[in-house]
Structure formats: structure tokens, C-alpha cells
Amino acid sequence: MDNHFEAGIDNLRQKLLVMASHAEKAVNESVQSLMQRDHDLALRVRTDDDVIDKFEVEIDELAILLLTKAPLASNLRLVTVAMKISQNLERIGDEATKIAKRARDLSQEPPVKIQLELPRMAGLALAMVKDALDAFVHRDSAAARAIIPRDKEVDALNKQMHQQLAQHMMENPDTIARCLHWIVAAKSLERIADHAKNIAEEVVYLCEAQDIRHALKN
């Protein structure tokens, strides 16, 4: 016999995955537009963000409907986790938009002559997003836990880039405006990795019913 509630849960899961693929694409394209100075692509990323926003609203509506049906145990966790993951994905989309805005502005200016580790940082942040979502799909708690420490590497790269750009600005004051764009873009990538980490923590809660957020701070 079909199970209508399970069908609703499946629908929620599917929507989340489609939303995730849009968010991943947005990050990829925003970084691409930044590195390749692609003005048109940067503009496209900004308009595509509406799609991600709509998913966030739809997922919340569906989740609330499912909550009225009194899900229990793992289904209850799944519904609440889905709402949090969608919120993180929406923020990832927003960060991609921010990167795209900087890419748009930078594409109109001469390039700054500085070797940055931004592509590597983008690769790390994106891999974290992808792995967090894979862990969600496979309900793989161990994989989710393994993502969390990787955020530190992205933080370190951001710090390193920040110092590098500050130094460059001091030495080349005419590049300050452009360097600030790069600082903001790097910060956005750092935030994307934070959101991936949040998603991973939610996956751990989904699988183990254990809240590991802020665990290291305490």
C-alpha cells in the first residue's frame, strides 16, 4: 500500500535536493564569473537566486503541513532538519550572489596583480557543501562529522588571503577598492563553508538525535 505521509516526506527530501543543486550551481558560477571576469555570468547568478528563495518558502510550507500530521522520531527530526538545511542553502545562495556582485564590479576594472588562493578556497567550500548534502542523502553521520573540522582550513585560507590583500593595499593604494571586493568575496566563501558545516551538524542531529552545535565552545 502507498504511504501518503512517506510520499510527503519524499517530496520534501526531493525539493531539498533540487534546491541544493541550484545553490551549488550558484556558488560554482559565481566563483567562475569572478575568476574569469565574466560579467554576464555574474548577472545571471543574481537573477537565479530568486529560484533558490522560492524553494526556501516552498520547503517551509511543506514542512509545516507535514508537522500538522504529527510525525514522530526520525520523521520529526527530518522535517525540522529540512527547514534548517533549506535556510542554510538559501544563505549559501545569498553568498553566491554577493560574490557575483563583486565579480560584476571587478570585471569592469583592470585586474589586480596578485596571486590568491581563492580557487582553492572555493573548491574546499564547495566540496564541503556537496559532502554535507551527500551525508544528508545517505544519512551518513560519520561522513557528516568528518566535514566539520574542514571548516578550519577554509577559515585559515580566508585569514591568509585577508592578510595578503591588506599588504597589497598598503603597497598599492590605487588597488584598495578592487582589493576590498576580493576580501568580501573571500569572506563569502568562508561563510559558505560555515553553512556547509551547519548542514553537516544538522545531519548528525538527524541521524543520531544528538545536537552537536557549539559543542567545542562549551
Partner: protein
Amino acid sequence: MAEPLIQKLAPQDRPAAATPGGGPFIQIENVSLYYGATKALKEISLSLDQKVVTAFIGPSGCGKSTLLRCLNRMNDLIDNVRIEGSLKVGGYDIYASDVDVIELRKRVGMVFQKSNPFPKSIYENVAYGLRLHGVKNKSDLDDAVEKSLKQSALWDEVKDRLHSSALGLSGGQQQRLCIARAIAIRPDIILMDEPASALDPIATARIEELILNLKKDFTIVIVTHNMQQAARISDQTAFFYIGELVEFGPTAKIFTNPAQKRTEDYVTGRFG
């Protein structure tokens, strides 16, 4: 002039009824019901579409079961009942003087809180209504029994013991048998009065799944005390309180953003 509500076709061949010219399938207008001097329903107006599940909710004594029983004139069996207003099914006034109540009840089947299979075999329970309506051909009966049992998600469990007593089935199975018996004569509407309240959670889940599958073919009105059940299975919900219809609307709205405070208080368990 539209066709009469009750058509004299063999139940299996009968096309599903529809309201001539569209419009709501069940139309309740300004209905009041009195038990003697007590006004149990107060000017209820409600329109229900075809092939949707409607839940009637409300505290005991609010009139939900009374209204449900108006829809197949079960209240006619109670002394001192007086009904005002109009109740139409498929555009026809079911309280008109020329309505054959027996025929009406063929069109509007009912399932009760406590399963009430006949003390007969599983097969005979489902075939009973068809035989009453003059179906004699064995292969027609076999087909109808199989179809009804499949539709009520009972076939796989009973196909090897169709001729055993229905009283040997579990409570949940007996209730699904009663649903099979109700749908065997292909009614347009199935009324359910707390059909799962005497069942355990697993049997309840099966009944709920069954209801969701049956709405493809039938219009279902269900009385339930279980809020989450109403949220899980119904498309629209009507909340009654001391004989009044307080609020009626899409189930999602009733359970997430009711317009009336009394509805919110009831669905969140603050009273009732």
C-alpha cells in the same frame, strides 16, 4: 429536468453521480436539527465537493455526528427529530417527499466507530448488499467482492479464507471489511463516524491510508476526535461547537492558521 438522484442501474455499471451544471456535490443550507425541544444543529451551511475528504471535528455533543447522520437520513430512525433547512446531494434535496430512503442509503454508505460485520463469511459480508440489490450471477459477485476487498486493502490478507467467518478477523481487519462492504455497492459518498477510534496505531494507519486511496473514487466525510488524523487525511475540515459550525476551510489552513480563536484553542487541545 435533471435525472433522478437514484438511478435504477446495476450498482457496478452505475456512473458516478454529479451535480447537474457543476457546483458543490453536497450542499447543506441553513440546516437546523431539533431533538424534541433541544436545538442540536444551528443553521449549518456547508458545501462539499466531490471526491474530497472532509473531516468534521469538535468536542463531544457539538453536533458533528448528528450532521453526518443527516446525510443519509439516519436521524429519521430517531423519534422526535425535526430538521429544517435543505440538504442536497448531487443537486437533489434528499429530504424531499419522493426520495426513497433505502435508495439514498445505497448512494450514501456508512462506516461506524465499532466494526459491525455480519455473522457470516468474509465473502458474504461483501456480497450482501449486492445480493440485496438483485445481483445473482456468481462471477459478477466474485468480481465485485474481489474488487472491493482489494480497494479496501484487505484482499491479500483474506483471499485464502474468503469463506471463513468475518468474526475471526482482527478489529482493524473487521473495520476494513466494513469499508469493503460499504463500497461494494459503489456508493457516491462514504460517511465514517470515528472509524479508527477503537483501533491501535498500526490498524489506524492502515485505515487512514485506505481513506486516502478511496478518495479517488468516493466522496468521504469523516467524524474524528483525532486532530492529527484530520490533518493527515482530510482536504477540508469543519469545526463544530455546541451545534454551530465555527469554521470550515482547507485543512492546512484550519491546522496552521485558523481564523477563529475557538478553532485554534480546540485544535491545539486547550479545550474539548
